[in-house]
Structure formats: C-alpha cells, structure tokens
C-alpha cells in the first residue's frame, strides 16, 4: 500500500467548481472553461501513488498546478472531485479536529518563501510545531535544539529569521518540519529561492537526511536537474495534467511527450544517467572490467578513457546484474525523440 495516494483528483477554481468537473471530464479544455464559464482549471484527473520512504518529485513549469496539487495533501485546498488517501484513510472524510491532528502529526511542510514567524527566534520557530501540539516545554526545547544542530544551525538559536541568509532561513524551515516528527514531509519549491551553490548544499543536506530518516517526501520543483538529483519517483505536470510519471532514469530515456523531450534535451545526460538504466543482460564472459550499477555514465567514460570498444560487467556488491557495451552508452547520451532525429 502506498503511503499517499491521489485518485481521480480534479481541482477547478470558481464558485461552481463541482458542476464544472463533469464538463472537464466530458473533454472541455482549460481555455474553453475559462472563456465559457469563467472557471480556472487547476488540476485534471491526477492519479499518483507515493511510496513510503521515497522522495516523490512533482515537476512542471510555473503555473502547471504543482502548488495546488501539494496543498491537497494536507487539505490547505479542497478538491473539486477525487480522493486523497493518507495511510489508506480519505483525507476528505476528516473533521476539523482530525484534520488538525493530521497536519500536526502526519505531515509537515517546507515553503518556498520559508514562512517563518518573523517575531520569533530561530529556536522558537523550530519549537513551533511541538508547541502547537502541546508537547512539554523541555521536550520542545530539546527537539528543536537537536534538529537545528542537525541542519547546521548550532549557535544561531537566539537570532531572528531576518538576521539570517536565505539558505539559513530555509535550514530553519527544514528543522521546523523535522521537529514536527512526521512521516510525511511536503516541500513546495523549498530550494527555488536560493542561490545555485547554496541550493546544491541544501539538496545534499536533504539527501543525507533522507538516507538517515527515510521519510515520505513530496518535493516540488520546476528544475529538472534538481528533480533528477533527488527523485525516486518523478511526476511531470503540465497545465494541470500528469504527462508522464515513473522512475526518473526511465523518463529520461523514454520520454513519451514532446513537452518532456524539450525538458530533457538540455540535461547533461552523462552525469544523470546511471549504468543500471543503460545495461543489457549478460551475453558473454570476457569483460574489460567491472562497474557498479549506480555509477553514472560520466564515471564510466572516465574509467574507459573514452574507448568505445570496451565492454564492462555491471555489479552490485557480489551480484552480477548485466553488461554494458560502451557503444550503448554513447547512444544513450543522445536524446531519443518520439518525432525522430532532429
């Protein structure tokens, strides 16, 4: 069972959103809905399963409905139709108090613009989720301290958010979310407001924390590099619809839509693609060497000195998983298009 499941979700903005769902199901497009009925189509027939302990990345251009989608998970936005199941329970069936309990205990959130309390210190900000829950003050203090230290903010407890850089403010945001001690963490463009170098640091921090904590993370971004770096499961959104979802490597190698081809054409594929995504079943027993399945193609090019005649054995620990011909590697570096070469 997936940790979070979204089933047939529709969101239409406007006073008569429920009535409009049928029109959209009947095939009405976003511009038509706007023109004829004055309603904005936000999300259309979204079905996503998010596995426990994985990072699900939702990617799309600005205005594609990413923020709208993530806000349905904790019902900051109510859907026009569809189900949102968290641990198998329909979030739509919760009463006010139950919904608050869900937000306090099951899901925490990190925001693009940090959304810290400006009149509270870093320490108080990190204590906020536990103080809302009514946890003991000593426990609040200890937890907040622990998580602030974990994200590298030792010694900054008594500062105010405005005294910190953007990167450090977002560290507070992450510490706050971690202090809530929830299974699920929602991150809406959490790193988009940061400078590129700091952004890389934060991505590394997130991956490091995730290796340790195995939370179910829903991460939103408009940046494909970021998505490929951290996604276990990638969902690509366009105009409120899912155009493709699956394993990131798979999407990169087999884009099913010109929109995604566009997206992936600018990527440094050698750095992103991994040996396991390109390897073939073993058909011989003489190899020029061994590589691990998780090595990037870039690693392999360095290893082979650029010699395309080599053949490597792909291993994972003691298991042999397959073989990789350098010629296949070179082919994989060229984006495949659904419309033929071009």
């Amino acid at each position: 069972m997936s940790k979070v499941a979204i089933r047939g979700l529709y969101k239409i903005f406007g006073p008569k959103d429920r009535e409009m769902v049928e029109l959209v199901q009947g095939g009405m497009t976003k511009p038509d809905l706007m023109e004829q009925h004055g309603h904005v189509l936000g999300l259309e027939d979204i079905n996503v399963d998010m596995a426990a302990g994985e990072i699900t990345v939702i990617m799309g251009l600005s205005g594609s409905g990413k923020s709208t989608l993530i806000r349905h998970l904790n019902r900051l936005i109510d859907p026009s139709a569809g189900e949102i199941l968290v641990d198998g329970e329909d979030v739509m069936k919760l009463g006010r108090a139950q919904l608050r309990a869900l937000r306090q205990k099951k899901m925490s959130m990190v925001f693009q613009k940090f959304a810290l309390l400006p009149h509270k210190t870093v320490q108080e900000n990190a204590e906020m989720p536990l103080s809302v829950q009514g946890v003991d003050v000593s426990e609040q203090t200890a937890q907040a301290r622990k998580w602030l230290a974990r994200v590298g903010l030792d010694g900054f407890e008594d500062r105010f958010p405005a005294q910190l850089s953007g990167g450090m403010q977002q560290r507070v945001g992450i510490a706050r979310a971690l202090a809530a001690n929830t299974d699920i963490m929602l991150m809406d463009e959490a790193f988009s407001a940061l400078d590129p170098l700091i952004r890389t640091d934060m991505q590394d921090l997130l991956l490091e924390l995730q290796a340790e904590l195995q939370k179910t993370i829903v991460f939103i971004t408009h940046d494909l590099d970021e998505a490929l770096k951290i996604a276990d499961h990638l969902v690509i959104l366009k105009d409120g619809r899912v155009v493709q979802q699956g394993e990131p490597q798979d999407i990169l190698l087999n884009p099913n839509d010109p929109y995604i081809e566009d997206f992936v054409s600018d990527i440094n594929r050698a750095r992103v693609l991994r040996v396991r995504s390109v390897m073939k079943p073993v058909s011989t027993d003489s190899f020029d060497g061994d590589v691990t399945a998780n090595a990037t193609l870039e690693d392999l090019i360095t290893l082979s000195d650029g010699d395309t005649n080599r053949l490597y054995r792909v291993t994972d620990g003691n298991d042999v998983l397959g073989q990789l011909d350098m010629k296949d590697l070179v082919k994989a570096l060229v984006p495949r298009t659904t419309t033929g070469p071009g």
Binding site: N74, R100, R103, Q104, A115, P118, H119, P129, V132, R159
Partner: protein, 342 residues
C-alpha cells in the same frame, strides 16, 4: 385656495383631503399669508413641498409635524433605550469618576514621577521621557496641572476602553466579510458625522451630570481608527506565514494569538496612536457637555472673550497632544524594530 388644488381635484382625492380639515394647525407660511391678506395663490409654481401641498390638501402633514414626529418618536423610545443603555454604560461613569478622582487626589510629587516612569517604560526613549517631564513641570508652573490631569485621565480611560472594544471588533471584521460589509459604513458615518451632531442624541438620553455622557461621545468618536487598523493589520498579515500556521495544524485561536495579532501589532499600534489623538480632540469638544479639563478653559475663553485663558489652554492641549503622540509613536517604533531587522 392654493396652487395645487387642481391636482388633487383631478386625481379625485378632494374628499379624502378634506376629511378632517378642521383640526389641521396652520403653517407659518399660512399665518404669514393671512396676516398679509394674501390668499397664497400668488406663487402657483411653488415647489410642491410638504407645507405647500398641505395648503391644498389638509391630510398631508406639514414639515414641522415631521420633525415633531421624529422628536416624539425619539422621546417615545427614550425610556426603553435608557432602560437598556443605562446599566450597560453605568460602569463607564464609575470608571471615569474613579480615574478622575485618582488623578486629582494623587499628589503631584507622586503623579509626575509616575507618568515620567510610564513614558520611559512605554517608549524606552530618553529624549521623549525628558520632554514629557518638561511638559508636566511646565503645566504645574503655569497652574494648569489639575486641568491637564483631568484631560489626561479621560483620555486614558477612553483610549483604554476603545482598545478593549475596538480590537475584538476589528478581529471580527477581518474574519468575516459580512461583518466587514456591515461595520465599514457605520465607521464611515462616525468619521464623517460632525462631532457636534452626535452630541444631540446623547443629551436626550443621558443627563449632563453623568460622566458617561462625554465618555460615550469620546469613545464613539475615537474607537474608529483602532477598529479599522486592527482589521487592516490582520488582513495584511503575510499569507505565507498564515498558511504555515495552518499547515502545522494551529487552531484558529492559536493562529490569532501566535501569528495574526503579533504580525498585525505595528498596524494596531498605529491605530491606537490615532485613537489617543482623537480622544484628546474629542475631550476638548465634549467640555460642552460637561467634560472637565483643559477644554473647559478653552470654552470659558470663547464665552467670555477671555483671549489669554483660551490661548494658554489651547497651547496646553497642543503640548498634551505632542507628548501623547511622541510616547505612543516611540512605542510603535519599538514594536517594529523588535524583530531583528537591522
């Protein structure tokens, strides 16, 4: 016979008009017309005002009957209104009398240091505190200490009550569009109504010997800005932070106490500052309905054409206004800078 006879005749209303002609009192115009030997037909195109129409049709009321009716109506419900309002507002009289008593009987060598200490506590500004001390000493030297204390006492009580009532009203307005739609026109009315005009119903309702009559006048006038700015302040709170509060499962009360009110505080304080200034302005005007203090001296100056008394008292009011403004502005600035902005 008057100019509009024909109209009533053609409409077939003659019988209805003449039914009880006998008891109708004559209007001033009729009396004048009679004494001048004029039968009223000299102005056939007079505007069909109530008085003119009355000449042709006795069943139509004269204007003075309407004003009379209003007055009678008001007097009719006066007893009931008093029955409800008297007990409700009685504490205001006690509060005003009590505070005036305290301010008048506390010896100057206690009162002045106390007020200076209060200024320091609120403003934390040396120049402001020194200035307050200087003004208080100046009042004492020119023998205006007592009246200044009376004015100050009323301003304190009325501002305090305005805040106590105004902030909750403002909160209610910010939470409900309906409440806002109802209250905004009332506030507009209170702000545009010339101050003298709403003294009139107060004189009818309460006796001039009761302190609450001027207390109500001052509060009704001065409460407007604190309501408006509380409403505005809460509506202007950064919606990202409010969303974070929701996402971490705060109850509405927690959200109000921990996020909305603290973030709206600079605006609310600006409202309090304006409320203080408006209380002071109104206390002066309310001296016409028995409010003690500097206003009485101004009034005496006007009545007896005693220029000196009026000017000194006027200057005193200005000085009082300046110290109240400086102290409350300094407090406002302190709130703004308390969050670590450099």
């Amino acid at each position: 016979m008057a100019g509009y006879d024909g109209v009533f005749d053609t409409l077939g209303l003659r019988d209805w008009c003449d039914q009880d002609k006998a008891d109708a009192p004559m209007s001033m115009a009729q009396l004048l017309a009679q004494s001048g030997g004029d039968d009223g037909e000299s102005t056939p195109l007079a505007f069909p005002s109530l008085d003119t129409l009355h000449e042709s049709c006795a069943r139509i009321s004269q204007t003075r009957d309407v004003t009379e009716g209003l007055e009678q109506g008001f007097l009719g419900i006066r007893a009931e209104l008093k029955y409800v309002l008297d007990p409700l507002t009685q504490p205001l009289s006690w509060l005003l009398d009590g505070t005036l008593f305290v301010f008048e009987t506390t010896p100057w060598w206690v009162m002045i240091p106390l007020l200076v200490a209060l200024s320091w506590f609120v403003s934390r500004s040396k120049p402001v505190t020194v200035f307050v001390a200087g003004v208080l000493v100046f009042f004492s030297i020119i023998d205006h200490y007592d009246v200044a204390m009376q004015t100050l006492a009323i301003v304190f009580v009325c501002t305090g009550l305005s805040v106590l009532l105004g902030v909750p009203i403002g909160i209610g307005m910010s939470k409900s569009q309906t409440a806002q739609r109802i209250i905004v026109p009332i506030l507009d009315l209170l702000q545009t109504l010339p101050t003298f005009v709403y003294l009139i119903p107060l004189i009818f309702l309460f006796s001039v010997t009761e302190s609450k009559i001027y207390g109500i006048a001052v509060i009704v006038y001065a409460i407007v800005p604190v309501i408006r700015l509380t409403d505005l302040g809460i509506r202007l709170v950064d919606q990202d932070v409010v969303e974070a509060a929701n996402a971490f499962g705060m109850t509405p009360a927690q959200k109000l106490a921990r996020v909305e009110l603290p973030l709206a505080l600079p605006n609310i304080m600006a409202g309090v500052n304006q409320t203080i200034m408006m209380s002071l302005a109104m206390v002066v005007i309310a001296s016409m309905i028995s409010a003690p203090g500097l206003g009485v001296l101004v009034l005496r100056g006007i009545r007896s054409l005693d220029l000196g008394v009026g000017i000194v008292a006027g200057l005193g009011i200005v000085l009082l206004a300046v110290i109240l403004d400086r102290v409350s502005k300094a407090a406002l600035a302190r709130v703004d800078t308390h969050r670590g902005h450099q």
